[in-house]
Structures are given as structure tokens and as C-alpha cells.
């Protein structure tokens, strides 16, 4: 089991690490070559981007930079999501699997439960993305550089926030679609093969499986997928909001790593709450359209709650940026 987990973890990390290593090596090699060549200063012409031609060159270059970063984020996000979702399809069935009514039911359960558990991962991923978006706007040389170039503060803000948010949402959606396609390709539309009632075969010791199955039957796959997207949006906006809040005032960026420590507790706390969720907390999560455990789907209209909250958070963060000392 342990060996299996570490193997799958390796499979997961391999392309990311390989891509990162390749990128860093090519950068280092280019730098070493440049240092050796010592060419005179002849700037390379700006990349032509037909779609962005209407923008002033300062904004175009800034936007292009961020689209590049967003592209990588999109790829990592899509890969990760697809990996997490399809992981149960390739793992050896756990001890309980023979108690499930048929293989389709067990696969479908694994797939869906993987989706609801992936939320924990998003929290970490989104937290770091949020910090990576907001901190370079407030602290350090990069913040001062862009704050002293002739581009509007609003343009900097929206470019950074929207490029990352869009990349994450699009990446997550792509990952889900990919995982779903793999599931269908390997096993066909298994969700049509679920027995509609709980068979009597199970003994009194198996009430947990029965409960899980009951939960699975009422769970809506659409809602779970939608919930992933709204949760990413909500949590990212929250991080951006808190990160821009004037309470956070540092005289130097030396204290930045310290900031990460309390911030890392947030997702941890949420995960713990979700596992020990009773009626009260799950109601809270339902309202925010956060789908952490199997069960009946929150009404679709609730999806608007996190979106509205996210909009408020981001607008608030935008207002804060106007008055920040950098």
C-alpha cells in the first residue's frame, strides 16, 4: 500500500519536476552562454501578439508575461486534477471493494470521493497561488518596479488576479474533463450501472458501506464538479483579500516566510472541520457550495453565494491596493 502510494506520487511529480528542471536548466544554460558571449546591448524586438495590438506596449508586455505564467499554472492544474481523479481507477481495490454491489458502483464511488477529497489539495494550491499573486504587488523590488512604471494600478491588479484565477479554473475544468474522458474510455458510462436500492446482502458490520452507498446515490456529479470551481474561486479571492488588507503591514519582506506559517493552518483547519463535520458545519459549507463529503447536492442557486462573495473580496482587495504604501 505504502509502496503503491509512493509510486503514484512519483508518477504525479515526475512530469512537473521534469518540466521544472528542464526549464531551470535551459535558463541557466542561456545565462551562462550569454555571460560567455558578452554581446552588445541589442534588444530583441517585442513579441507580436495580434490580439493585443490595441494595447500600449507597456501593458502588452506586462500582460504577455502574466499569460505565460498563467499558461504553466493551467498545465499544472489540469495535470494535477486529472491525476487525482483518475488515481482510483488505477489503484488496487481496497479491502472493502468486494462488499460493493458491483465493480461499477465501487469505481464510481472512488471517482466521486476522490473529487470531494481533492478539495484539500486545492486549498494548498490556491493558497500559494493567492500569495504569489498578492505579495509581489505589495512587497519587494518587483512591486516597486511595476508601481513606478507607467501602467495603471488597476491594470496590474486585474492582470495578476484574473490571469491566475482564470488559469486555475480553466485548468481544473480541463482536468475534470480529462479524467472523465479517461473514465469513460476505460469503463464506459458506469454511472448507469448502479443498483437503485441497497441489496440485503450486507451484514450489520457493513453499515458504513451502506451509508456511503446511500450517499453516493444522492450525490450529483455535476454539483461536485461545479463546487470545485466555485470553491477555488472563493478561497482564492479570500486569500487575495486578506493578503491586500492594510492590517498586513511589513516594513521589509524579510518577514514574508513567517506569513506563510499561519496561512498554512487555514486549509488544515478547514480539512479538519470537514472531517468532523456535523449538521451545523455541513450546513455552513453547503451554503458556500463547498462539497466536502458525499450527500445530497446543495441547491444550484447556492453556487451564486461563493461567486458573489468572491466578487466582493476581489473588489475589496482592489480598493485596498489604491492606498497601499509599497
Amino acid at each position: 500500500m505504502i509502496a503503491h502510494l509512493s509510486l503514484s506520487f512519483l508518477t504525479f511529480m515526475l512530469p512537473i519536476v521534469a518540466a521544472a528542471v528542464w526549464k531551470i536548466r535551459s535558463i541557466l544554460r542561456a545565462a551562462a552562454k550569454a555571460e560567455q558571449d558578452a554581446l552588445p546591448f541589442v534588444p530583441t524586438p517585442q513579441p507580436e501578439a495580434a490580439l493585443l495590438r490595441g494595447l500600449p506596449s507597456a501593458r502588452r508586455i506586462f500582460l504577455l508575461q502574466h499569460l505565460k505564467v498563467a499558461g504553466s499554472l493551467y498545465a499544472v492544474m489540469a495535470w494535477t486534477i486529472a491525476f487525482i481523479f483518475t488515481l482510483p481507477l488505477f489503484t488496487v481495490a481496497s479491502a472493502n471493494s468486494d462488499k460493493w454491489f458491483n465493480h461499477s458502483a465501487y469505481l464510481w464511488y472512488s471517482f466521486i470521493v476522490g473529487a470531494s477529497h481533492s478539495t484539500q489539495f486545492f486549498f494548498t494550491m490556491v493558497l500559494f497561488s493567492g500569495i504569489a499573486v498578492i505579495m509581489p504587488m505589495r512587497f519587494g523590488p518587483e512591486a516597486r518596479f511595476y508601481r513606478t512604471r507607467p501602467i495603471p494600478v488597476s491594470f496590474v491588479f486585474w492582470t495578476k488576479v484574473l490571469s491566475v484565477l482564470t488559469a486555475m479554473i480553466a485548468g481544473a475544468a480541463t482536468g475534470i474533463a480529462l479524467a472523465f474522458a479517461i473514465l469513460v474510455a476505460l469503463h464506459g458510462p458506469i454511472w448507469h450501472n448502479l443498483p437503485a436500492t441497497i441489496p440485503r446482502l450486507l451484514g450489520p458490520d457493513d453499515s458504513d458501506v451502506a451509508q456511503l452507498y446511500a450517499g453516493l446515490l444522492v450525490t450529483s456529479a455535476h454539483s461536485i464538479f461545479l463546487s470545485i470551481l466555485t470553491t477555488i474561486t472563493l478561497f482564492f479571492s479570500l486569500v487575495v483579500f486578506l493578503g491586500s488588507a492594510p492590517v498586513l503591514r511589513l516594513r521589509s519582506n524579510a518577514a514574508l516566510p513567517l506569513l506563510m506559517i499561519p496561512a498554512a493552518f487555514v486549509p488544515l483547519a478547514i480539512v479538519i472541520i470537514s472531517f468532523s463535520s456535523n449538521g451545523g458545519t455541513s450546513y455552513f459549507f453547503r451554503t458556500l457550495y463547498i462539497y466536502l463529503s458525499l450527500g445530497p447536492p446543495p441547491p444550484l442557486i447556492y453556487a451564486l453565494v461563493p461567486i458573489a462573495l468572491a466578487a466582493i473580496c476581489i473588489t475589496g482587495a482592489r480598493l485596498f491596493t489604491n492606498h497601499q504604501d509599497i
Binding site: A38, F41, Q46, I61, E142, R144, I151, P152, D325
Partner: protein, 309 residues
Amino acid sequence: MTTYAIQTNALVKTYSLGNKKTHAVDGLNLNVSEGSIYGLLGRNSAGKTTTIRMAMGLAHPTSGDIKVFGLNPARDPERIDVLRQVGYVPEDKMLAALSARKLLELNRNFYPETWSDDLARKVIKRLELPLDTAFMKLSLGNKTKSALACAIAQRSRLLILDEPTTGLDPIALDELLRLLVEDCTAEGRTIFLSTHQLAEIEQIADHIGIMDRGRILLEGPLDDIRSSFRRLTVTGAALPTSHPGILSTRRQAHATQYILQSAPEAFAQDLIANGATIVESNPMSLNEIFLELCRTSESTAADREEEFA
């Protein structure tokens, strides 16, 4: 009407750390006229960097206001008009963690109307700036040069340099002064620089502001300041102790030394008319003027604190 590149009016900036409030800038009135090379002098933590940060829109005034070319540098869209016309070398010299070439290539995109590749090459050559050394390996002096090359090649209407000589060796410093005079002053362009190194500023500046504890102690054309300050050593009886022109008086064994800050000739003639003998009358260097002003300001500040105590 004279236009001002930078003008502040009762500018105040306070920082609160815990319960303690620090007045980094405390009622500053500054007038930097266009076409001048203005040297803002002051000791460490006199408020120079805070003032510059407010001029660049990086910090917001607590009260009072600061205008760059008559515009508010902290609020879009005026801010954009300001920044389009300003080149900036920050105190820590770190514009972005990039090699000089990358930084220059990035920066030129922001100033398509004024940027000059030729001038960039000239600065690189004159300052002997290594283009491809990784940022982490750059010495402090080379970081300074990198930031300077960016700002100078922008050919902006106003150049704001916060301690632009940090880490430069004497040759690089000399080349910098030459570049500033040769390429950054034509067509009525303005240089505003802060420093506590007086010698270099004394050479190229034509306007001086001396700052201490967030206030301006003295501001004006450097030649006027030089001609209005004088050190007189006088012997005689019944020497005056108060006169509007006296900055400080020091009694020695047989003579009295006056530091005068305005109309020294008139004062000297008064003394002679009253029977005193002027033993020595020396003009003062900027360095001496600066030291004298800071000491006087310190002692009056101490007096003020005693009064409150």
C-alpha cells in the same frame, strides 16, 4: 510662471510602529524648479527616501501634498502621466531581480516614446556594466549601475535618484557625473537626487535643499547659498551676539567666531564701524555649511525637548 518638477506643501508622513509614531517627513516644503540639478542633502533618516517614495507614488502622504509636474503622483490617471516622465533609481537599487540586459530589455517597453538604445549602450560602456551577470552575483555597485542605466536611457523629463552613488568606485562615480551632465540635462530636463555624500553633489548641483528631521533647513541656488554663508573671526569689545544673519557664535580665547547665513558683508561693515577687527573672513564649503546647519538644528531640537520636559 515658473514650473516646478517637484513641489511639496506642508508634506507630512508618519509611520506608527506599535505605540510609537515616527514623523519621517514633518511639514516639508520643497520647490524643485524645472531644468535644475537639485541635490537633497541630509543625514541618514532625515526623510529623503520617504520624500522620494511619495514623489514616486510608492507612499501616500499622511497630510499635505506633493505634486510632480503639478500632478498627483499617487492617483491614476495623473500618476501615469507622472511616471511616463520620470526615471527612478531606488534606494536599494533593486528594480527587479534580473540581469542588467533583461532589466533593460524589460524597461524599454515601458517608455516607447523616449527610450534610447544608443544612450543605453553609452551608459553600459561608460559605467562598464556587465550585462549578463546573474542578479544574485551582481555586486552592489553593479546593481546601482544597472538601475542607473535603466533610468538614464529612459531620457525622462525628470530623473529621481535616491543615493545614486552607492557602491560606485571613484571612476564609475566620475563617469556617472559626466553622464548626468552630458545626457540628462538637455532640453530643460531635471535631476533630483538625494545623498549624504556632499562632494559629488557640490560639483553638479545648482540647487540644494538641506533636510533634517523631516524638515527643510535651507533651500536655494547653490551659488547664492555659498555667497551668503561666511565664517568671520573677529576681535574687539562689545561684539553683538544676536543678529538676524548669525547662525552660530563661538567664543574662543581671544576672538569670536561667527557663522553667518545671510548678508555677511553688511554684518562685517557693521562690526568694523563698531570698532571690531576682522581677523579672518572665509567662505564656507557646502560640507561646512551642512555640518553647521545640522548641528544648529540639533541643538535647537534639544532645547525644544527640554522645554517640553
